[in-house]
Amino acid sequence: MIRDITIGQYYDADSVIHRLDPRVKLAFTLIYIVSLFVGHGPICYAYAAAFLAVVIVLSKVPVKFMVKGLRGMLMILIISALFNVFLVQGEVIFRWWIFTISKEGVRTAILMVVRLIFLVIGSSVMTLTTTPNDLTDGMERSLRFLKVIRVPVHEIAMMMSIALRFIPILIEEVNKIMKAQIARGADFESGGLIKKAKAMIPLLIPLFVSAFRRASDLALAMEARCYHGGDGRTKLHPLKYQAADYAAYAALLLYLGGMITMAVLLP
């Protein structure tokens, strides 16, 4: 049913990683990305791979879901590999017409691709194990310091969570309008790109009108329920670090420390 659609790519399971505070998972993603850029050479990447493997096993999310995210990246991976292979100068190992392949080129291409793959899988660990709502909560808390420079963090988080709530409702509405327009003879299927785009107009206009009406209703309902911004607001489930969260932070720092040591010591 359309009302059950999951937004993002959350994979429901009960694991240590799922239960972690969203802030920890945000930190994990950040630190992991940093570590990938700190490290160089096969040993560092083997280390990064081992760490990621442990996290994936702990998260109980099937590897197939992790790899899914890579499919969209395929083109970028191929292009960046080709660029590196052909354009990096160095000891020539193959030459044909205007193409030359160097040893260094092959080496950087492989490292670049591996780095990108880890990057994608590493960040999908976060989105696969955290519900969009938790993610919003986590971001609101971790970015709170931006309030000092007048970034409306609470308002942005509130908008995100309201958007999450209304996406399924609006999708259902699209279906309803579509059926109503088809019943009146609208044609959404045939024709070229331009004709199809034009056919969307009778779908989009009613959708926008209704979305605005909903927004105005919702604003009134929020005001009636005493909403007046983030100041002085309490939370039913405030984010609170548990022992496991501190342990996870420690593990992260240890991992990053290891990576930096390796990067410094290895040639």
Partner: protein, 283 residues
């Protein structure tokens, strides 16, 4: 004691044409004076555009008067500086169940009001629990509101009000978008709240049937109060109600027509049982 005190309330708004020039001033509420006793169940009837919703929105200061005063629990809505304590006293349930639920989990939506009021976390838990229990929705606590029926969503909305511990609840056509089952659920819930918790209820509707069990019925037309009394008094004035495009409950109309034809029936019959009783007594 009167919880709501409205004195000579006037509300006007301006209409604009495409060039944003003023075309006319519409008087949505025209000199309404009304007081509502604490703990009572009042139904406001009226057809579309009669000003009934506008009137309700004045009570919790969503709209402010053009003229006259509105007092809620002794606070003047125009002069108050504590808008939130004022709104906390008068929860409002709206027509569209989808457009008033803010969170993606039932319990978090119920907590939204008290969260805004800054109720500490330890107490929130309890308030949410009690509010959900009051409307019989405890089992759905962790559900997504998207999977609930219209009646259930309205009960969640009511729970959201209860969690703020209001003195009165304003219901702005809460059943207009519901099926008969959902409608019964909602009306029954508010009646229970009124009887057991003593919460004042102001129910705005255009379903006459929902007015039958109220303590007091007010009829509005063209921004004015035209009738005010017990359901029996109001519904015995069938001709007047019809004159302002309203239909009385079926059984009341039948009794009225029979009476006109010469049957000796009492005025203002409201329920089928009452009607059957009266017919039996004739016999």
């Amino acid at each position: 004691m009167n919880i709501i005190e409205i004195l000579h309330l006037i509300h006007e708004y301006k209409e604009y044409d495409e060039n944003e020039t003023e075309t006319e001033t519409v008087r949505a509420i025209d000199d309404v004076t009304l007081s509502i006793e604490e703990g009572s169940f009042v139904t406001i009837l009226g057809h579309n555009g009669s000003g009934k919703s506008t009137l309700a929105k004045h009570v919790n200061a969503l709209l402010l008067p053009t003229g006259g005063t509105v007092m809620l629990c002794g606070q003047d809505t125009l002069k108050t500086e504590e808008l939130w304590t004022l709104r906390k006293n008068a929860g409002m349930v709206f027509q569209n169940p989808d457009n008033q639920i803010i969170a993606s989990v039932v319990e978090e939506d119920v907590a939204f009001g008290p969260e805004n009021l800054g109720v500490p976390t330890e107490k929130l838990e309890k308030r949410v629990e009690q509010a959900l229990e009051r409307v019989g929705m405890t089992a759905f606590r962790m559900n997504s509101p998207n999977r609930l029926s219209g009646g259930q969503k309205q009960r969640i909305a009511i729970a959201g009000m209860l969690a703020m511990k209001p003195k009165c609840i304003l219901m702005d056509e809460p059943t207009a978008m519901l099926d008969p089952v959902g409608r019964r659920e909602v009306i029954q819930t508010v009646h229970e709240l009124n009887k057991q918790e003593g919460i004042t209820i102001l129910l705005i509707t255009h379903y006459m049937e929902e007015a039958v069990d109220a303590d007091r019925v007010i009829v509005m037309d063209g921004g004015r109060l035209i009738m005010d009394g017990t359901p029996k008094e109001v519904f015995s004035r069938v001709e007047e109600l019809k004159a302002c495009h309203m239909t009385v409950p079926q059984v009341t109309e039948l009794a009225y027509e029979l009476k006109k034809e010469g049957l000796d029936l009492p005025d203002g019959i409201l329920t089928t049982e009452e009607f059957a009783e009266a017919l039996w007594n004739l016999h």
